[in-house]
């Protein structure tokens, strides 16, 4: 490689970042990518979906697919509905309290009926959607695209996580899941305290 080629590479790379920023904010694909990435970069959205996936226990492929559909429906209803009046922090507090409850459900290894799991999955979708609504549908131009991207990430994350969880209803793998659930419950409890302090 000549030094000229190396120099061109450096200049080309330096120019790459502004080129990425030059995309139109209303670009559909850009909005979809924003929504998709948002789910993986915000623990408050990712952790409830992970926990509710860990509730799956030997229910098989079909119930997991039905649960994924329920999660998606709950999420879309919340994302595309009218904003909830009142303090947005209240939604966060409820979501975090729900996260603690989900964590304890997984931790105590309760054998829940698949119908109840379905209800919890639907509730998780709705709560996550309500909390993510401002971040996902913030830009009116790319709002729907963002919602589609966000939904895709949620489903792509939930399906394998729930299938893996359903493969291991017992054994050390389940113990690892229970430990992770206890840690997530602890994180959510701390976040509740942070929220209370910040709100004064």
């Amino acid at each position: 490689m000549t030094s000229r080629a190396a120099l061109l590479m450096v200049i080309g790379t330096a120019a790459f970042s502004p080129a990425a920023s030059a995309h139109d904010e209303a670009d559909w694909l850009h909005g979809m990518l924003d929504g998709a990435v948002l789910f993986f970069t915000a623990l408050e959205f990712l952790l409830p979906v992970l926990l509710v996936a860990l509730l799956a226990r030997r229910h098989g492929l079909r119930p997991v697919i039905i649960q994924a559909a329920a999660l998606g429906i709950g999420l879309l209803i919340a994302l595309l509905s009218v904003p909830v009046p009142g303090d947005p922090d209240a939604v966060g507090l409820i979501a975090r309290g729900y996260l603690v409850a989900l964590g304890l459900l997984v931790l105590f290894n309760l054998r829940l009926h698949s119908g109840l799991v379905l209800m919890l999955v639907l509730a998780t979708g709705m709560l996550t959607g309500l909390e993510a609504r401002n971040a996902v549908i913030g830009d009116a131009g790319a709002g729907f695209a963002s919602a589609v991207g966000f939904l895709s990430s949620v489903i792509c994350f939930y399906l394998p996580a729930a299938l893996i969880a359903s493969l291991y209803p017992e054994g050390w793998q389940r113990i690892v899941m229970r430990v992770v659930a206890s840690w997530i419950a602890a994180i959510a409890a701390m976040d509740i305290a942070f929220m209370i302090v910040r709100s004064g």
Partner: protein, 220 residues
């Protein structure tokens, strides 16, 4: 008979080749030089040490008194075996969070430094003495000390950053310290390892004794 390894032809690099090879290296270094600027652009994300994940991750490992006690929990769990090996590392972070919440909400807990030092002495002593109390008793002991360990972390939390990431870092670091203790504690299955684990427990108790003297010297 020469080995296949010795028959492998030695590759000679000429001076010109070396010059040629250095160019890609320079190019890579030049590209790397551009990266720190990109990283600085993510300060707002809360992943960096600005009250985000890294801040939470670092917080539990900054005090030796905390670290040794958390490692002792893992060691003791490994000695006690199932189910304590996983119940204790679940209980400690969970109850520690309760202590942290008390700290965040400014609820006072008496003689914090004394309690933390005592935890290292007692838990290290349990490991050194190969104490095997019932699980419920071990749980209660762990839970009691976990409050003391959580409180100062909650009270000293940064005022900025992303709270949930800070909490995640804090809990993960605590859990990983337990895992480190459990990993070392698994040596207990071998006779030589048994001595090493018990010696480590005695060392932890000694560190606790040092911090106890410090706490008494400072008036708790």
């Amino acid at each position: 008979m020469p080995s296949a390894l010795s028959e492998k032809p030695t590759q000679r690099i000429s001076t010109d080749d070396a010059k040629g090879a250095s160019r890609p290296v320079i190019s890579v270094l030049a590209l790397c030089a551009l990266l720190p600027g990109v990283a600085l652009g993510h300060v707002e994300s809360g992943v960096a040490g600005d009250g985000g994940f890294v801040s939470g991750l670092v917080h539990p490992v900054t005090g030796l008194d905390h670290v040794v006690a958390m490692v002792a929990v893992g060691l003791w769990g490994a000695i006690l075996g199932a189910p304590a090996i996983w119940v204790l590392p679940i209980a400690f972070p969970l109850i520690m969070t309760v202590g942290a919440v008390l700290g965040i909400l400014d609820v006072p807990v008496p003689a914090i430094n004394l309690g933390i030092a005592a935890s290292a002495i007692v838990l290290g002593g349990m490991v050194a003495a190969n104490a095997r109390p019932p699980l419920a008793m071990a749980f209660l002991l762990i839970a009691f000390f976990a409050i003391y360990h959580g409180h100062p972390h909650g009270a000293a939390l940064p005022d900025f950053g992303v709270p949930i990431l800070y909490a995640a870092g804090f809990v993960v670091a605590t859990g990983l310290l337990h895992v480190a203790g459990i990993s070392f504690g698994l040596l207990y299955r071998w006779s030589a390892g048994k001595s090493a684990v018990r010696a480590l427990g005695a060392g932890i108790a000694a560190v606790g004794g040092y911090f106890l003297l410090l706490a008494i010297g400072r008036g708790f």
